[in-house]
């Protein structure tokens, strides 16, 4: 085990200072890590926010179509259903 590990575990003020000082390279090391943290977090946060927004939009549109309930929308549904999965009973009845 390295001596460095033991001294940090004792958590002396001078050790903490040495840790944050990074051997005089603090102004290069810490911005690198902070910037990386920001970029990675931004990736996650931005994607999550966009997914929420798209989900809300899709749900709204689906609800609007269901409210309209026209046969035209049922036809569109069948066009864009790539799996060929069976529709719900009501939709099949409406189509025929």
């Amino acid at each position: 085990m390295q001596p460095g590990l033991l001294s940090y575990q004792r958590c002396h003020v001078s050790d903490l200072q040495a840790f944050f000082n990074m051997g005089g390279y603090a102004i290069y090391v810490w911005p690198s890590f902070i910037l990386s943290f920001i970029v990675l977090l931004a990736n996650v946060w931005w994607s999550k926010a966009q997914l929420q927004r798209v989900m809300r939009d899709t749900a709204k549109k689906t609800a609007a179509r269901a409210a309209k309930g026209s046969s035209a929308s049922a036809a569109r549904l069948s066009e864009s259903n790539p799996t060929g999965k069976a529709f719900t009973e009501t939709e099949t009845v409406k189509k025929s």
Binding site: Q2, Y28, S36, T58
Partner: protein, 247 residues
């Protein structure tokens, strides 16, 4: 076997799979990155030549490796899209572009922060740095091309061609340190058989690389879901999703 593979072309299957798998990826990413940071910043010793400044390696190298890895994923899925017209491959390529661009930016920025104390300059037109900058512009070009063409199918195809052609830059980045050896140091861990790095420094580096990979996988799944919803939003299976009644 092929039937099993075929399911990965089905949007509902991939969407549900992403919903189940992504939280686990996010959790694993967090744990592994924290372990990598602890070992890299606290346990690993200082470098005999570069002192404490070498610790930038723990974010710089993973970002740089992922910047290339993400591009290869983007190029391969673009090729699959062009050859077999597989919509999901296009979604994956589109989802990868902003993530790859952010990793490339990170590799350049942290490299700059490392170059200043070690080389005495923020930037130099060295082979590695220049080809990595070209990679950033390839990502930007891909995204710009997608949004510049009105017709979505035309945009997808044009951007896919750009991604496939641009993959020629990846070996250039990789071999740049051998072809034009100016300031950037040669490879540390990808040397076959004989890595020039001690285990106490290599383990945290590997953990950070795996952590970055997991983060890419996690964000890729989130963005793939976005892409699927944008294209298949009107499909019946989307309306039946449980989260559609919740949001």
């Amino acid at each position: 076997m092929f039937k099993w593979l075929h399911r990965f072309g089905s949007a509902p299957f991939v969407y549900r799979l992403a919903t189940v798998v992504s939280p686990w990826l996010g959790f694993a990413c967090l744990v592994i990155m924290l372990a990598g940071l602890y070992l890299g910043l606290i346990v690993a010793p200082a470098d005999y030549e570069q002192g404490e400044s070498y610790r930038i390696i723990y974010v710089h190298v993973p970002a740089a490796i992922l910047s290339m890895f993400v591009y290869v994923v983007m190029a391969v899925s673009s090729a699959i899209f062009l050859i077999w017209r597989m919509k999901l491959a296009d979604i994956v390529a589109q989802a990868s572009a902003p993530i790859g661009a952010s990793f490339t930016f990170l590799a350049l920025a942290t490299g700059s922060l490392w170059g200043k104390p070690m080389w005495g300059t923020w930037w130099i037109w060295d082979g590695r740095l220049t080809s990595e900058l070209v990679l950033l512009f390839l990502y930007f070009g891909y995204m710009a091309l997608r949004s510049a063409i009105e017709h979505p199918q035309g945009a997808a195809r044009a951007a896919a061609v750009l991604a496939v052609v641009g993959v020629v830059n990846i070996p250039i980045i990789h071999y740049s340190v051998e072809w034009w050896s100016t300031l950037h140091q040669p490879a540390t861990i990808t040397k076959i058989g004989k890595p020039t790095i001690h285990r106490s420094m290599a383990i945290p580096l590997f953990l950070m690389i795996i952590g970055f990979q997991l983060l890419y996988a996690y964000v890729l799944l989130l963005r793939t879901k976005i892409g699927i919803l944008q294209r298949e939003g009107r499909a019946a299976w989307v309306a039946q999703l449980p989260e559609m009644s919740r949001v």
